[in-house]
Symmetry: C2
Subunit: 339 residues, 2 copies
């Protein structure tokens, strides 16, 4: 039906030049109202669509950002992406999604591919194993805005949007203490990732604030799945003085722990309370709903997008912004002794 209508086509029809058409379409002040109207109308009539590719090539701006996450189908990241998309879409930006599968090499490849694609910015969460930072510097060298959300590395010139993981760990632990728990265990991911380290520090802070001695046999670094939770509980319960609560940095580990505890005939929350982290959807659907620290991923995505937009506008200025959102503890049955 309608094959590619260009400004030349509409120029020809109106016996004017393409430049004039362009000006009319872009609301350039130097143009008579009459021709503007004429152009607008015929453009609509001919079903003209601007070729964004040409505009992008000319302007050097593609109006597209790249978003890189470990896995797109994890609720936390999917929600962040939704936040980004909702904030950027109205500003005319498109969002290209990429996954790293927690593989550093894939992360590097993805970034290079993206840089290759005339992207206007990169918003990302690094993998659990990322060591080198050279690929991030590539981005900065090209002058394109780079924003980390959640999982970050501290690199000069890179803005970050995170939650206060320390506070999340602190709140969770404090809550357990206030529920009367005396021997609180903690499972975490690799401390090389700041988020896990921070949650752990928050945990320690709460303990010390309440004068509870920190015991390193109560702390374990594990994978983030239910089996890891089961294993952790098995080990914890074999201790001479087993814990009576668990603050886990992962909801999946918390779930596995609960399953194992039930197997062992331990009453939850009476004899053992549990708090997880991330507020995964399943935590609230369980019959024994699981307390968890909510990270408000949607808001995190929106903030990351806003930081990007600011950075695009104050073009020259190299602002390095560190946004820290507050987590909120969702208290549910797994840690509520008296109601």
């Amino acid at each position: 039906m309608n094959e590619k209508v260009t400004i030349y086509d509409i120029a020809k029809k109106l016996n004017i030049t393409a430049a004039t058409v362009s000006r009319a379409l872009n609301n350039n002040p130097k143009i008579s109202e009459s021709t503007r109207k004429l152009v607008m109308e015929t453009a609509a009539a001919m079903n003209y669509k601007q070729n964004k590719l040409a505009v992008a090539l000319k302007s050097g701006k593609s109006n597209t950002v790249g978003v890189i996450v470990p896995y797109i189908d994890r609720n936390f990241f999917a929600s962040i992406i939704r936040g980004i998309e909702e904030e950027l879409d109205p500003m005319g930006y498109h969002t290209i999604i990429c996954q790293t599968h927690e593989d550093e090499q894939k992360e590097k490849d993805t970034i290079n591919a993206l840089l290759n694609t005339q992207i206007d910015g990169i918003l990302m969460s690094i993998t659990k194993v990322t060591q080198s930072t050279s690929h991030f510097r590539n981005v900065l060298n090209k002058q394109i805005p780079l924003i980390f959300f959640d999982r970050k590395k501290n690199i000069p010139g890179v803005s970050t949007v995170t939650i206060n993981d320390f506070d999340g760990g602190y709140q969770a632990t404090k809550h357990l203490i206030e529920q009367g728990c005396k021997r609180i265990a903690h499972t975490s991911g690799d401390f090389a990732l700041e988020i896990y380290k921070d949650r752990f520090e928050g945990y320690k802070e709460a303990l010390s604030e309440y004068g509870i001695p920190f015991k390193k046999e109560y702390v374990m670094q594990t994978r983030s799945d239910t089996d890891a939770g089961k294993d952790a509980i098995t080990k914890f319960m074999k201790l001479p003085n087993p814990p009576d609560a668990l603050f886990s940095s992962s909801d999946y580990v918390a779930l596995g722990a609960i399953q194992k505890l039930k197997e062992l005939g331990v009453n939850i929350p009476e004899d053992f309370s549990v708090v997880g982290f991330s507020n995964e959807p399943f935590t609230k659907f369980m019959e024994l709903s699981i307390s968890s620290v909510d990270q408000n991923p949607m808001e995190m995505g929106k903030m990351a997008a806003r930081v990007f937009l600011e950075q695009m506008n104050d073009s020259g200025v190299k602002i390095e912004k560190k946004v820290i959102l507050s987590p909120s503890l969702m208290i549910r049955k797994s840690s509520t002794k008296n109601d």
Copy 2:
């Protein structure tokens, strides 16, 4: 550090012409091995990156597809997108994600925006409320491949990838019958959407196959959330002859139903069995795990991507492909009477 290196820069340095550089870079056969090598090396040395925008403008191919889903942070759709991404990424395609929020107008706007962006194809799942088809025809008129996954409309020229919803409904219902259930209720979404209609037809087929009379008071069209499930059970249990099983087209409704049944003191699965649809992650995490029909969304995404790729290759030919994947029933505690 490295400002935009173009083929002209590398041509200048080598005292050859940009065309030659282009040929060398593209493995064009008409070029001497020596200059190719030379070009390749200096290109690498100068850290040359091809400007995809220019290529896209020249070739009319952007190597980008648009993916439209109701919500990106719903597990089902996130997994589909993951499948699409994993299939398309190695072929050099990027994926732009858009959400409709189940709003037909947003769907139209999104499609137009995408058409505006020199996209190579659109892969999508329509909203629950989409009535008109004119915006889809716009896509076809522009000769750009359109592929529906899961939720579709029957439009000539549009390929679709769906699961056999009829079979899903049939399997679920048959399973309940074989578990000894005699009075099986069904909750569904709006029958205007084929997927719901088909599941319902499968349900009826299983009933009739086993000589169980169909009763329309056992069928209810509802929203897809837990509250709807609670309401449905409340109504069902007030019937003179209440059902002893539920096949729901939504896991959330199934969950709400189970919650309400427990409140009412009904034993599950002994006195009332439940099967949901979609195999949402939470269904298997519950203590009383919920049987559900798995739609294999990852595979659905991959298939949709492959259909798109085929369509891109056999350019001229207008193939209209209908791929139907098989669902698989995940049998869990909510419907297993004897084990």
